[in-house]
Symmetry: C2
Subunit: 409 residues, 2 copies
């Protein structure tokens, strides 16, 4: 596989001490791991990251969820509530370039691993934290999960049918969306640190992070002075017909194709009419402009549906796409999983995991020099105790055995 | 304002030549600009980035949409279809650290600014491209917009009501979600380049990028062997009751509060019952375990709704949050816009724009040393012609006047 994959040396030599769990934090540190940083998860020796138990394949195994968000990392099991374990964590922090955590508010400080404690022993550290709500906000002590951030960060208010309730998008943007913004910020701080040695304290709230992803809705609000409204599958940006999901054969729950013709390019509409065998409507004043089509939206949708219903969604996408009409089949997770194209292009890769067997999963979806980065297994709990404590701290076998006997690691 | 904001020097000295438009590309280069890179948009002298005309506040003004995605950048207007303009762009590329584009497939190569052309003149350049579909995929020539990526990248299949059609999430994740992954990848390449001088070619497809944001749904598929299904506002990860949006008074379209009790923490459910005045149900076997509540989900929802209907959504959030029950009011874009808390914390900032006046908008939502980064205006078309061509290329007034007379800039 080696030569099919890019060389993973972008963050070579960068050491990340990773005290994150579940998804917002782990998705961030995993991005750094994809790029070649040495990411060491510090987990409690009993159960480790609670994400290990979410969506388990088989009892006692690490979950698929955990594998997805912890590829290419190492794991050290340390009891942070024991004085020796805490001392060990501080020794690791002394040698780390980056520290990341997403515990509940106040928890990392109570452990004795807050920013003030760590910058004393490592002034150049890039110290990054995720919380649900921002410091100084009315809810700064509030617990947050992905959907709490999506509700309070505006996403749910703009997702759903116009006459229905607010809806949670299927993506876990409250978690992974936050993690990606944190990764960008850490990388900025690392870039400066490389020449100046300067450390940084970085904080991101999940609620605040959501605003980054709904800025088009803020443009709508600035234009209308009102809250952006739910628009089903249509655009928030005023009426553009056609735009939406159109039913395909054989009529299953995901047999739809998204069809759109750009407001900026009138050729899209004419090409669409030709493909669907309705060239007779080219130039028809009822449909010839954006404004006219918006006025006759139901008719426009009926004309297109009449054609899409006679086609498989992939075939419809192919026929439209070939002539330059923007179109996308609604693909579900099983179809994406089974499509050999993603594996052939290295976007999906198989993780070979000691405990769970082979697991096909999305990799970092970016090509470097035409190749994607290689996946390495998510670590077993404490798998790298000896390797990391030996390498980072120079501990020998006797010391490691003693720590193990004392229940510290 | 200065002392309220962080010093924007993370990417000091990094020059980004930005040939992007609309959102996927601009959201990426804007992230680099927030961190202090010098981002120079190269735009056609006639209309510039077509995003300047989307969601216009007033005719002839730049749009809110454009302001949102192009804060802190510079603009140079260059006619790339003229030989002199192309030569100018190449001269700029020679002096750039990063080049980013998201034209339609094949367009940048036809212009003469493809990777092979630019690495000849600047081997150390980090050259990044966004397309709709990956090189080598069946749809690699297909046009893509945000919603095409969201359809074909799996998001719509997992958004919506269980008995309804697939739905577009309100977020423009196909664009901004892609932009954030590209920014991370560019920053990785820049970090390596800083010590090795090595350039890189980076490619990201919007369809592929979507997989990063729906990995929990892939965990569901790995567990069940079936496509992840739409679950309304509930979790994809099996039944957890309560989880969902509950109606609040006075009953407007966004008067809802998300309430969740963690499967991992039984205390959440007991705390919830106490707050809503139903301590009588603590220990009731119908509701006392995750499994029992899942079985009586309709009753559970009715018990909670009976209470939420009597409260304002913010009040409900406050009462629940205070006692450690995860809760989030569904806030809409007008409420978020008007809430002084976001501006006080620097998450929202006012852009003072020469052409459009004052515009309050979400800033980069991350705190560095407790402060957010300062917003600077999105550029007018060609605003920095003289400054950038003078600074990067050393052109003097006479040369610049000649280029202007010839219609090149």
């Amino acid at each position: 596989m080696g030569s099919d994959r890019a060389v993973q040396n972008y963050l070579e030599g960068v050491r990340v001490l990773d005290l994150t769990q579940f998804e917002a934090g782990p998705s961030c540190t995993e991005a750094l791991a994809w790029l070649g940083a040495e990411v060491v998860k510090v987990e409690n020796p009993k159960d480790g990251d609670p994400g290990r138990a979410s969506f388990r394949g088989k009892p006692g195994q690490d979950s698929w969820y955990f594998l997805l968000f912890n590829a290419n990392k190492k794991s050290v099991a340390v009891d942070l509530k024991s004085p020796k374990g805490l001392a060990l964590a501080k020794d690791l922090a002394r040698r780390a370039d980056v520290f990341v955590e997403n515990f509940a508010p106040g928890a990392v400080e109570r452990l004795g691993l807050g920013y003030d404690a760590l910058r004393e022993i490592n002034p150049g550290i890039v110290y990054a934290q995720v919380k649900g709500f921002g410091a100084g906000s009315p809810f700064e002590r509030g617990l947050a999960f992905d959907m709490i951030a999506q509700a309070s960060g505006g996403l749910m208010s703009i997702t759903g049918e116009p006459d229905g309730p607010p809806l949670k998008p299927g993506t876990t943007l409250g978690d992974t969306g936050t993690g990606m913004l944190l990764a960008i910020s850490i990388l900025g701080a690392l870039y400066r640190r490389k020449s100046t040695g300067q450390g940084e304290r970085i904080e991101l709230a999940m609620q605040d992070a959501m605003l980054q992803y709904i800025r088009v809705a803020f443009a709508a609000t600035a234009t209308t002075g009102a809250a952006a409204q739910r628009a089903g599958s249509k655009l928030l940006s005023g009426k553009t017909a056609p735009s939406g999901v159109y039913p395909c054969k054989p009529g299953g729950p995901n047999d739809y194709v998204y069809v759109y013709t750009s407001r900026a390019n009138p050729a899209h509409w004419r090409r669409l009419l030709e493909v669907i065998g309705r060239a007779d409507l080219i130039g028809d004043p009822r449909y010839d402009t954006v404004a006219a089509r918006a006025e006759h939206e139901e008719e426009v949708d009926a004309i297109i549906s009449e054609w899409t219903r006679r086609h498989d969604k992939r075939e419809a996408m192919r026929l439209l796409s070939e002539v330059g009409v923007p179109a996308g089949a609604v693909l579900d997770t099983l179809e994406l999983h089974n499509d050999p194209d993603f594996e052939r292009r290295g976007i999906m890769q198989v993780m070979r995991h000691k405990g769970c067997g082979d697991f096909k999963m999305p990799s970092w979806p970016v090509r470097f020099g035409g190749k994607t980065l290689p996946v390495a297994p998510a670590p077993l709990l404490g798998e790298h105790n000896r390797a990391v404590l030996g390498d980072w701290l120079g501990l020998g076998a006797a010391e490691l055995n003693k720590l193990h006997e004392d229940g510290v690691i």
